[in-house]
Symmetry: C2
Subunit: 105 residues, 2 copies
Amino acid sequence: MLDRIADKWSLLVIALLEEKTLRFGELSREIDGISKRMLTVTLRNLERDGLVRRTVYPEVPPRVEYELTSLGRTLLGTTQALVTWSEEHQEEIARAREAFETAAH
Amino acid sequence: MLDRIADKWSLLVIALLEEKTLRFGELSREIDGISKRMLTVTLRNLERDGLVRRTVYPEVPPRVEYELTSLGRTLLGTTQALVTWSEEHQEEIARAREAFETAAH
């Protein structure tokens, strides 16, 4: 189960949805580097795991919206902490990688 | 960078090391389902990112130990929260998956 949530795209979708309701296009624009196919798979898996709710409105064309379920919201704090941690420590890690490569490895 | 830490094996290694120093064999026994090759790659990546320190003692045979660096320890709380969350919600997610599969999808 950990491999579902320990997944970069899932974490970014959860962190982005927060308390909001978003459409596919909005999610796609907000998440750097995610392909349409990967976003479709990620949303479907999150829906399947009960973390995201998908609502289809019978309009022409149909409107589809995504939001966190109550179960999904219990993961929000930890997810945002992990996303924030990775943003805040990006430089330290880049330096560590440089040092690792130049050292006798 | 998020994809490094948003990785099941990395999270399990970090959560397991905690404040301890462990050897490869101990890590390998404690983490269900991880292959020796995957543990080697995971530890090397974590070392490269400055999250884990690898210490080799010049004995015969050489003794190799792993521990979290100070940077690694800043990730510990969030990592444990994610691991604990996934353990605590395993059944809810299994039920959601069942419902998803039986519903008209």
